[in-house]
């Protein structure tokens, strides 16, 4: 792809979006927030930026994230906050699809020989990184004015909650990089299995620690109690299984426009999930796992049916995530955020190193696995926002530190994981399905 052409096209669509945005005074609306404009602009711009990223050997995902960040509310403001708010449903649907695709690729039979490795690396990396992060955040709590006056128990609760949030991984990034590079092999499978299963543990862990923390901070909002946890996790799993059954029956009986049905179901999950406290990630993941491991149809059918729309889904999801990054808030807490990212990386590396021997993992793959666990996005962001909103006043300060640290991991993680996949020799050189012939490209 000609980079000059991509840059020129990017300039053209930016000029159009900018011109359209100049139509209304700030804060005014005529027929909506312009979410469709933001949606179209972000998809096109993200794909053009990803071409530039590819040329300098960066993952497309980094291009999508940077695109959202540059054109989002923090920098150029082509996409403003009301537009992003209205894209929340698109984001929810996209995360559901990403999780569904992950589930469809996780075959338990195939993973059985690696189960010990998956469990030991998950436990090892989470345990060590949580421990190191807890120590760091305890120290941070002693020096920040907003928490300096807390007693030991309160500081410990703050440290535990923050450590729990930063221990999260990013299934979306890992799946995104694997799909983008069409990687196949033990590192891809191991990384994907670990991030998916470990994130489930992180979500449960957060609900438990935040419930405990509420007893220490009586003023905290009560949005994350055990009742919500049960609905959130088991309700999502039940709905996901239901969707899996519907999809299996549809594929068996109808087998036409399966991709559209997938989107319809995920849209319903995202929309109904807001009132029923369902998590689109868990719903999608369960549906995918059901299809691949329980139903007679297998996940391959869904992967094929959604192939054409997977690229725009990834592009819009990561561009929106990038647009949600707040530059000013990050700069404010940058030293703490960078320190937390470094401690997290060290914890993941040390934890994996310990687990490799216990899990019987191949030395070469084991050395590269930590690079697949560094990324953070959806789950980490969601939990950080919960801290920010639920635990006032200290949540506002430490939530910003958490978000800042996630920004660092978000930008570095995909690059390192792509490097690891290339190093492991798992990046596929084959052309993508549906690729045009050379003579067609030059037509």
């Amino acid at each position: 792809m000609n980079i000059t052409r991509s840059i020129l096209l990017l300039l053209v669509v930016t000029a159009i979006a900018y011109a359209a945005r100049s139509f209304l005074p700030a804060g005014a609306m005529v027929t909506g927030s312009g979410a469709a404009l933001a949606f179209g602009f972000l998809i096109i711009a993200a794909l053009q930026v990803s071409h530039v990223a590819e040329a300098i050997r960066f993952p497309h995902l980094t291009g999508y994230l940077l695109c959202g960040f540059i054109f989002g509310p923090s920098v150029l403001r082509i996409v403003n906050q009301p537009m992003l708010d209205d894209l929340a449903l698109v984001k929810g649907t996209a995360i559901g699809l990403i999780a569904l695709l992950a589930g469809c690729e996780l075959n338990f039979k195939r993973l059985r020989p690696r189960l010990r490795a998956i469990v030991s690396i998950s436990l090892g990396s989470i345990a060590v990184s949580t421990l190191l992060l807890a120590i760091l955040f305890y120290w941070v709590a002693t020096i920040l004015p907003v928490t300096a006056g807390f007693g030991f128990i309160q500081k410990a609760a703050v440290a535990l909650i923050c450590a729990n949030v930063l221990a999260a991984f990013s299934p979306a990034v890992v799946i995104g990089v694997i799909r983008e590079t069409r990687a196949r092999g033990p590192l891809s499978e191991l990384s994907m299995s670990i991030v998916v299963l470990a994130d489930l543990a992180i979500v449960i862990g957060y609900s438990l620690t935040s419930t405990a923390a509420r007893t220490v901070f009586p003023g905290a909002q009560t949005a994350g109690g055990m009742e919500v946890l049960v609905t959130h996790i088991f309700g999502s799993i039940a709905v996901g299984a239901g969707f899996g059954i519907v999809l299996a029956v549809y594929i068996l009986r109808v087998r036409s426009r399966t991709g559209l049905l997938v989107f319809a179901l995920l849209f319903i999950a995202a929309e109904a999930g807001r009132v029923l406290h369902l998590d689109p990630l868990l719903v999608g993941l369960t549906a995918g796992l059901f299809l691949e491991n329980v139903s007679p149809v297998g996940g391959e059918e869904v992967l094929r049916a959604t192939e054409a729309v997977a690229l725009p889904t990834f592009a819009i999801f990561f561009a929106v995530v990038g647009a949600e990054l707040h530059l000013h808030a990050f700069l404010h807490v940058a030293p703490f955020a960078i320190a937390a990212a470094a401690v997290r990386a060290a914890g993941i590396y040390a934890g994996t190193k310990l687990a490799i021997k216990a899990g019987g993992v191949d030395e070469k793959v084991g050395r590269l696995v930590p690079l697949g666990l560094l990324s953070q996005a959806g789950v980490g962001l969601a939990l950080a926002v919960l801290v920010l909103n639920d635990f006032q006043p200290w949540g506002r300060v430490l939530g910003t530190v958490l978000l800042g640290s996630i920004v660092v991991n978000q930008l570095i993680g995909p690059v390192l994981f792509r490097f690891a996949l290339a190093k492991a020799g798992e990046v596929s050189p084959e052309p993508e399905n549906g690729a045009l012939q050379p003579e067609e490209q030059h037509a």
């Binding site: 139509f23 949606f39 109808v254």
Partner: protein
């Protein structure tokens, strides 16, 4: 959320998914083709009614509709692009010379008659120039123009072979005529709002044309050097959303802007045009179904004025098509079937009519009652027309069966 409400939501969503499954089933499409039913009649009405029921049972809330706004704009854009792509000048050049006259005659009388009669009725209902009388008259006229093909195999069985080509083209290009009226109406009757661009009303017509043309060129440039189909679909989705979003943000008519972009795409030398049209066609039907569901959520069928207007709309439109068909057969007898069968062939109303009136209604943040009656009229008018066409087709099929001794089902 109370348990009763949760159960209601779950049951309703399950019903929606079930209906969507049925509507998407290939057997339903075969059924439509066999009986010459329009998308509206076969799958559209159930979804329309479902939308209405969901809104009244509290399943679809204001928040849900606000959430669906980007999807709705995108769907309008998709439909607009599909309509615009039918305006391929080279393909039109291949049609018989009588096509233009036939198109004008099958479109204009119905448009004028519906405009005059509905204008009179709306004036009786108390609408004035200040409350949108002229706008509603013009938009109902545009809705009268569009048609969907009936069972052409049955109705044109004894007609010259070119007649099928002409009638099919008429049912496609009359949509462009309706969009032209929509462009005019959307420019002349823009919503009043605090905006930074100050233009005369006629200036907005130029802006609409310019934005549509520019976005058509941009979509072409984006698609021109794609590496694979996945990228093509991504950029197509992005291009349509950008066009729809830009139009929506500027309070221009979304389907019109996207139709102009589609017309540009149809006439530039793009090597994978057939594949692009296939991709657009694949999603066209679901877009209509989503759209009709949304129309259902704002439908107000209990207002009697809409029913009166609907009956008048169906009758005058049908009469206008008959007058036009008679004139067309007189002008080009060698290319067309009998006036009766030609009328029946172009009588069913296309779902584009609902797109036209609903897209205008949503341009105005505070719509006046005339538009709500108009939506009702178009929906009721299309139901009445569909019932009439089906009855006439059954009669025609029975007559053929008696003539030839073949079963009625041979043609239906």
């Amino acid at each position: 959320m109370p348990a009763e409400q949760i159960a209601r939501v779950v049951i309703a969503l399950a019903a929606a998914v079930g209906l969507a499954l049925v509507a998407a089933h290939p057997a339903v499409r075969r059924f439509e083709q066999r009986f010459g039913l329009s998308v509206l009649a076969a799958s559209g009405f159930p979804l329309l009614i479902l939308g209405y029921a969901f809104r009244n049972f509290g399943v679809v809330t204001e928040q849900t509709l606000a959430d669906l706004r980007p999807a709705y704009e995108f769907g309008l854009g998709w439909i607009g692009l599909v309509v615009g792509m039918q305006l391929n000048v080279r393909r039109l050049d291949e049609l018989p010379h009588s096509f233009t006259t036939t198109l004008a005659l099958l479109t204009l009388p119905a448009t004028v008659l519906v405009g005059l009669s509905s204008g009179l009725l709306l004036a009786i209902f108390g609408l004035t120039h200040g409350t949108g009388l002229l706008r509603d008259v013009l938009i109902l006229s545009a809705c009268a123009a569009v048609s969907a093909p009936a069972n052409l195999r049955l109705l044109l069985r004894n007609a010259p072979s070119r007649s099928t080509q002409i009638v099919s083209a008429v049912t496609q290009i009359d949509q462009v005529a309706a969009f032209a009226i929509l462009a005019l109406v959307a420019s002349m009757f823009r919503p009043q709002a605090t905006v930074l661009w100050r233009l005369p009303r006629s200036g907005w017509f130029i802006v609409t044309a310019g934005v549509g043309f520019l976005l058509g060129v941009v979509i072409y440039l984006l698609l021109r050097n794609v590496r694979n189909r996945t990228e093509e679909v991504s950029l197509l989705i992005g291009g349509i959303a950008l066009a729809a979003g830009t139009a929506g943000y500027l309070a221009l008519s979304v389907p019109v802007v996207c139709a102009l972009a589609g017309a540009v795409l149809a006439n530039v030398p793009y090597r994978h045009k057939a594949r692009l049209e296939a991709t657009l066609g694949d999603f066209e039907r679901p877009m209509y179904l989503l759209f009709l569901f949304l129309v259902g959520t704002t439908w107000r069928p209990l207002e009697w004025q809409g029913w009166a207007l609907g009956v008048l709309f169906a009758v005058t439109r049908g009469y206008g098509k008959l007058v036009g068909a008679r004139a067309a057969v007189r002008v080009a007898p060698a290319d067309l079937p009998s006036a009766r069968n030609l009328t029946l062939a172009v009588l069913p109303e296309s779902a584009v009519a609902i797109v036209v009136i609903f897209s205008l209604a949503t341009l105005d943040p505070e719509p006046v009652p005339g538009i709500a009656w108009g939506i009702n009229a178009v929906i009721i008018g299309s139901v009445l027309t569909e019932v009439f066409v089906q009855a006439m087709q059954r009669r025609e099929a029975r007559a053929v069966g008696e003539e030839t001794g073949r079963a009625v089902t041979h043609f239906v």
